[in-house]
C-alpha cells in the first residue's frame, strides 16, 4: 500500500492565528478520515468567516489541542521560522519481534504536511515612533492593512481546505477498510521538536516503522 502524501499550501500566519488555523486544518483532515459513525459538529472560526467540521469526539479534540499547544511553544522559542506539522494516518500491523523493532509496526498510508510561516508583523512600530510627528493617520492605514491581511489569510485558508477536499476526493483507494466500532483511523501528529537533530530522529523512526523511505515531495 502506498503512502499518499499531501503537501498543503504554505500559510503565512501570525502568532495569534496559529491555534485557529491549525484547529481548522487538522479537524478537517481528521473528519475526512473519521469513517465511523459521527455526529458532525460545526465550529465557526472567530478570526475568519469560515466554518469547519469536527467529528465531535472530545478525546480527539483534546489531543489536537495539546499538539497545537506544543507547537505554539515551539514557535515562541523559534520565532519567524517556517515550520511544518505532519498529520499521519497509519495502520497497526503485528510483526515478528526482533532486536530493533517492536511487535507492532505502523504502516503509514497517508501523510499530510501543514506548512506554516509564522510571522510577527511590526505592528507596534508606529506606536514606538513617538518622536515622529509626521505620522499621517497611522490608525486607518494600520486597520486597512490588518483587514486586507486578514482577508488574504482567510482566502489562503479556504484554498487549503479545498485542497484537502480535492485530495480526499481524488484519492480514495488507499484508504483502508473501515473497522467495526472504530470512528477514526489511528493518527499521529508530528511537530518540529526543539532541535533539528531530534526532528531528524523522528523521521528515521518513521522510516523504520513504515519500512520504506518517507516520500517528501
Amino acid at each position: 500500500m502506498n503512502c499518499e502524501v499531501c503537501q498543503l499550501k504554505e500559510l503565512e500566519v501570525e502568532h495569534f492565528e496559529i491555534r485557529e488555523v491549525l484547529r481548522c486544518i487538522l479537524h478537517t483532515i481528521v473528519f475526512h478520515r473519521a469513517l465511523g459513525l459521527v455526529r458532525p459538529k460545526d465550529v465557526d472560526l472567530e478570526l475568519f468567516e469560515i466554518t469547519y467540521v469536527q467529528c465531535g469526539d472530545v478525546e480527539l479534540e483534546k489531543k489536537i489541542d495539546e499538539k497545537i499547544d506544543h507547537f505554539i511553544s515551539w514557535v515562541e522559542k523559534h520565532p519567524n521560522k517556517k515550520s511544518q506539522i505532519c498529520l499521519s494516518f497509519y495502520e497497526v500491523k503485528s510483526k515478528q519481534p526482533s532486536w530493533f523493532t517492536n511487535k507492532t509496526e505502523r504502516l503509514y498510508w497517508e501523510q499530510w504536511y501543514i506548512n506554516l510561516n509564522v510571522t510577527q508583523h511590526p505592528k507596534h512600530h508606529s506606536s514606538k515612533s513617538h518622536h515622529t510627528k509626521l505620522v499621517v493617520d497611522p490608525g486607518e492605514s494600520a486597520t486597512e492593512e490588518r483587514s486586507s491581511r486578514r482577508a488574504m489569510v482567510e482566502a489562503s485558508l479556504r484554498e487549503v481546505l479545498f485542497q484537502i477536499i480535492k485530495f480526499v476526493n481524488e484519492k480514495k483507494d488507499h484508504v483502508p477498510p473501515i473497522s467495526e466500532g472504530v470512528i477514526y483511523f489511528p493518527y499521529e501528529i508530528t511537530i518540529p521538536s526543539s532541535s533539528d537533530s531530534a526532528f531528524g530522529m523522528d523521521m528515521i523512526k518513521r522510516m523504520l516503522h513504515s519500512g520504506h523511505p518517507t516520500m517528501l515531495s
Binding site: T28, F31, H32, A34, L35, G36, L37, V38, R39, P40, K41, D42, D44, E49, I50, T51, Y52, V53, C55, G56, D57, V58, E59, R158, L161, F162, I164, I165, V168, N169, E170, K172, V175, P177, I178, G181, V182, I183
Partner: protein, 638 residues
C-alpha cells in the same frame, strides 16, 4: 444457480438501496445547510460525547436513517418531502437550486416560512437581468420580488450502458459494495465540508442565527428537471466537481455551480439595519423651508444656554449645525453584516422611517388630525418622565413613541385661549397656559388636565386676550412652545372642550399645519423664553385683586364685619383669602377660575342670601329674646 441468482439479486437490491440512500443523504446535507430550520448545525451542538466505545451504544439515539454513511444528521423536512424523488428506480438526476430571495415590501410571515417550497420558475424574459431578477413581478404586479439562483447542485447517477450491472460473482460484488460504501462515505464527508465553505453558507448561518427580520431568505428548490442557466448567469458562477464514484452499473456524480461573489453582493447591501442619518427627510430645513412666525422675545441670549432646548429638526437653522436626528428604523442587534441590508431603499423598508423629530412631533407629523386633542406643554420636554436629555439624537423605538404619545395625551395644556374671557358658559374648568416656574405635575393633580390659575390673573388674561390678534399670539407664548402641536389644545377632562368654543378661523394659529406643512423652525422659541415672556406679561398686568377685592369690599366687608352667621362669613372669608392669597406667582394655587362677571354675580347672590339670613336670624333672635324674657318673667312670677 438459484442461490447465485438470489445473491446477485440481493446484491443488486443492496446496491440500489445504497444509491438511493446516497441520493437522499446528499440532498439532506445540502438542504439542511440551506433551509432555515433547525439543522444539524444546531443538532450537533447538543450531541453527547461520542467515543469509540460508545459508538455501538449510541445507535439507540440515532435514527435508522441517520446511520447511513456513518453520518448522523437530523431529519430535514424539505429533504423528506423529496424522498420520493430519490427513490426512483431509474435514478433520475436531482437538481437543487438555492435561491436567494429578496422581498423589499412583503414583510408578512409568509415571507419567512422555512420551507423548501417555493419559488415559481423564473420566466424566461427575466433571465437576462443582471444578478437580481428585479424586473420580475407578480402576475398581479403587486410586489417586486428579486431572486437569484446562487447555487445549483447536481446529484445524478450516470448509468453505464451496454453492460450488465448484475454480473459478477458474489465475492466481487460484496467487495464492490463495501468499497462503494466507503467511497460514498468519503464523498459525503467532503460534501458536508464543502457546503459549509461555499459563500451561501454564510448567508444561511447569518439568517439562521440572527433571527432578525431580513428581506433576504434562502429558498432551496428541488426538482428533476430545470431550465439551464443562461450564459450570463453561468459566467459569474464557478463549478466544483466531486470525483465520481463508480458503481456496478454506472457512476454517481456530484457537482455544484455556485456564485463566488455572493458574499460580495450580500456584503454590499448587508450592513446592519442600524440607525441611519437621513439628511433630506420630509420637513427638514434643508428639504422644506418652513414658515417663520413672528418670533417671541427671547429672554435668553444664546440658544445653547437654554436648558430645555431640544435639537429639533426645525431648529437647526437657528442653532448651531448639528447632525439630523437618526431615523426611526429597526435596528438589529446582530453584528454580522453579511445577511443584512444597509440601504433602506434596496431593503424596501416599510414606511417606518419617520422624520427624526422628537416623539410627539414625529407623531404630530403623521397624525395631524388628532392633534386637536394633544397639547404638549412647555414642560413637556422637561416632563416628569425619566426621559433622556432631549438634546441627544434620538433613536426612538416604537414603545417609547407610544409612551410619549400617552404622555402627551394625558396632559394637554391649553396654551392660549383667545375667546376664553368671552365665553360665558365657561363656568367650569378652564385651561390656561402654565407659567414656567410652576411645577405642574400632571400626576400630582387629581385632575391632570386642568391647569388652574388664581383668579387675579383673570383680568390679566382678559387683557391678554383683549389684545389684537397678533399681539395675542405674540404674548401668549404659543410660539414659544416649540412643540409640534398644530392646534391649541384643550383639557380633555373639561366638560366643555374649549376647542368647541374657539373659532379657529378668527385666529390664525401658528401651529395650524396644512397637509405636509411643518412649522417654520425660526418661529419656535425656547420654552423658557416664551414662558419668561408670559411671566413678564402677567407681572405687568393689573392684578385681579383690585377689581375683585373692591367688589368684595363693596359687597362683603360690611357683611364680614357684621356677619353673625359663621357659615356665611366663613364662605366669604374663604373666598377673600383665596383671592388674596396669590399675588406671588410662584405660589399660585390652582383653583377653578371664573370670569369676573360671574364672580360678581355670585357675590351679589351671596349678599342677597346673607341679608335674607340675617333678617331671618334677626327675627328669630328677637323672637327668642322675647320668649326668653317672657319665660324668665313667667318663672319669676311663679
Amino acid at each position: 444457480m438459484t442461490s447465485t441468482h438470489t445473491n446477485s439479486h440481493t446484491e443488486a437490491a443492496k446496491m440500489e438501496q445504497v444509491i438511493t440512500e446516497f441520493f437522499y443523504k446528499s440532498l439532506l446535507i445540502i438542504l439542511e445547510s440551506r433551509s432555515s430550520y433547525v439543522s444539524s448545525r444546531n443538532y450537533s451542538g447538543e450531541q453527547t460525547v461520542s467515543s469509540p466505545s460508545s459508538s455501538s451504544s449510541s445507535s439507540s439515539s440515532v435514527r435508522p436513517r441517520d446511520k447511513w454513511f456513518n453520518l448522523a444528521l437530523r431529519e430535514c423536512p424539505s429533504a423528506l418531502e423529496n424522498l420520493d424523488l430519490c427513490r426512483r428506480s431509474n435514478f433520475e438526476p436531482v437538481v437543487v437550486d438555492v435561491i436567494l430571495e429578496q422581498k423589499p415590501l412583503d414583510w408578512g410571515p409568509a415571507s419567512f416560512s422555512p420551507t423548501s417550497d417555493l419559488v415559481r420558475n423564473l420566466s424566461s424574459k427575466n433571465k437576462n437581468s443582471y444578478f437580481w431578477n428585479s424586473d420580475q413581478q407578480d402576475e398581479s404586479g403587486s410586489e417586486m420580488k428579486c431572486e437569484k439562483i446562487i447555487e445549483r447542485w447536481f446529484v445524478q447517477h450516470e448509468s453505464r450502458k451496454g453492460r450488465d450491472c448484475n454480473s459478477g460473482n458474489r465475492r466481487s460484488s460484496c467487495n464492490n459494495l463495501s468499497a462503494l460504501y466507503k467511497k460514498l462515505i468519503l464523498m459525503l464527508r467532503s460534501l458536508y465540508v464543502t457546503v459549509r465553505l461555499l459563500p451561501a453558507y454564510n448567508i444561511f448561518r447569518d439568517l439562521n442565527s440572527s433571527g432578525l427580520i431580513c428581506s433576504f431568505k434562502l429558498v432551496p428548490r428541488v426538482s428533476s428537471f430545470v431550465e439551464p442557466l443562461t450564459r450570463k448567469e453561468e459566467v459569474d458562477m464557478q463549478r466544483f466537481w466531486f470525483t465520481p464514484v463508480d458503481t456496478s452499473c454506472g457512476r454517481l456524480c456530484l457537482s455544484v455551480l455556485y456564485h463566488s461573489s455572493i458574499s460580495d453582493m450580500s456584503s454590499e447591501s448587508s450592513t446592519p439595519m442600524s440607525p441611519q442619518f437621513i439628511p433630506d427627510y420630509v420637513g427638514s430645513p434643508l428639504a422644506d423651508p418652513l414658515r417663520r412666525f413672528p418670533s417671541l422675545p427671547v429672554s435668553h441670549g444664546s440658544p445653547s444656554s437654554l436648558p430645555f432646548s431640544r435639537r429639533h429638526s426645525w431648529s437647526y437653522d437657528h442653532y448651531k449645525a448639528s447632525p439630523p436626528l437618526v431615523s426611526f428604523s429597526p435596528s438589529p442587534t446582530h453584528s454580522e453584516s453579511n445577511a443584512l441590508v444597509s440601504n433602506p431603499s434596496s431593503l424596501g423598508l416599510p414606511p417606518m422611517s419617520l422624520p427624526p423629530h422628537p416623539p410627539e412631533t414625529s407623531l404630530a407629523h403623521k397624525r395631524n388630525t388628532n392633534f386637536d386633542e394633544y397639547c404638549p406643554s412647555p414642560n413637556f420636554s422637561a416632563s416628569p418622565s425619566p426621559s433622556p436629555s432631549p438634546s441627544l439624537p434620538i433613536y426612538i423605538p416604537r414603545t417609547h413613541l407610544s409612551k410619549a404619545l400617552l404622555r402627551s395625551e394625558s396632559a394637554p395644556v391649553n396654551i392660549a385661549a383667545p375667546k376664553l374671557a368671552n365665553t360665558p358658559a365657561l363656568s367650569g374648568k378652564q385651561n390656561l397656559p402654565p407659567c414656567p416656574p410652576l411645577k405642574i405635575t400632571r400626576a400630582g393633580t387629581s385632575r391632570t388636565d386642568n391647569i388652574r390659575v388664581p383668579a387675579e390673573t383673570d383680568a390679566t388674561i382678559e387683557k391678554i386676550f383683549s389684545f389684537g390678534k397678533e399681539d395675542c399670539w405674540k404674548y401668549s407664548g404659543v410660539k414659544a412652545f416649540s412643540n409640534s402641536s398644530p392646534r391649541i389644545s384643550c383639557s380633555r377632562s373639561s366638560s366643555r372642550s374649549l376647542q368647541d368654543d374657539f373659532d379657529y378661523s378668527e385666529f390664525p394659529c401658528p401651529f395650524d399645519v396644512e397637509d405636509g406643512e411643518m412649522m417654520d423652525p425660526g418661529s419656535r422659541k425656547s420654552q423658557d423664553a416664551a414662558v419668561g415672556a408670559l411671566v413678564r406679561l402677567l407681572k405687568k398686568a393689573p392684578p385681579l385683586r383690585q377689581n375683585v377685592s373692591l367688589n368684595f369690599s363693596e359687597a362683603s366687608r360690611p357683611e364680614i364685619l357684621s356677619n353673625s352667621i359663621p357659615k356665611q362669613s366663613q364662605i366669604l372669608e374663604a373666598v377673600t383669602v383665596e383671592y388674596a392669597a396669590a399675588p406671588n406667582i410662584a405660589s399660585f394655587r390652582l383653583v377653578a377660575s371664573k370670569t369676573t362677571t360671574d364672580a360678581l354675580e355670585e357675590l351679589r347672590g351671596y349678599k342677597v342670601m346673607k341679608n335674607l339670613l340675617l333678617s331671618e336670624g334677626g327675627k328669630a333672635y328677637t323672637s327668642n329674646v322675647a320668649s326668653a324674657a317672657e319665660h324668665s318673667s313667667t318663672s319669676k312670677g311663679t
